[in-house]
């Protein structure tokens, strides 16, 4: 059983923003990649096989929304997760993945389009 979740009305906007921000495949991948510590942009770029401005753009969005932070060293920008909590959301999604693979949840609907 799940206890009554009460998100305060003031916080709903923030909650939506966080979820929406993480609701992008490449950003999820970036967050996952940052899980084991800070990484410079170039490395993220290589790892995810994306062009540099795209990576910087996603990082900026996540920076503005408090999801990542960075530390500059010379010409390198080392990005890392602003917070361990972000991983909780991802681990929640990996639970979802399990449920679906066990057939306990279906994302597809009969009247899907």
């Amino acid at each position: 059983m799940t206890s009554k979740t009460k998100i305060s009305p003031d916080f709903i906007q923030n909650a939506a923003r966080i979820l929406k921000t993480l609701g992008h495949p490449q950003r999820i991948k970036i967050v996952e990649y940052l899980e084991d510590g800070e990484k410079p942009v170039s490395q993220i770029q290589r790892n995810l096989d994306l062009i540099q401005p795209i990576v910087s753009q996603h990082l900026k969005i996540m920076l503005d929304r408090g999801i990542v932070k960075y530390r500059q060293e010379g010409t390198r920008y080392y990005y890392s997760l602003a917070n361990d909590f972000i991983l909780k959301i991802l681990s929640c999604m990996s639970d979802a993945q399990e449920m679906i693979s066990r057939g306990e949840w279906s994302l597809e609907n009969f009247n899907n389009n």
Copy 2:
């Protein structure tokens, strides 16, 4: 410590979709409202003070993405959460709310715009 979250590459699109879908204030409110059981559209509408087509649209989006389901009875459509798991995500967000209120996390960044 959080254990290594591993979302399979195949699932990342789905994960993003779920998060993005929940990343809307009114949809969060709807999900919260459905927490204590199925509700007909009209009641959701009254509760959230929205016009009917908006509610139906959000419900349809969430239906297509496996987040809600419904049961028709006469002219009434009773919507409910497709899954208890959805609440876990929200409860995760209510944890976030706490962290922020305790000052352990800031959503605002110096160079925010």
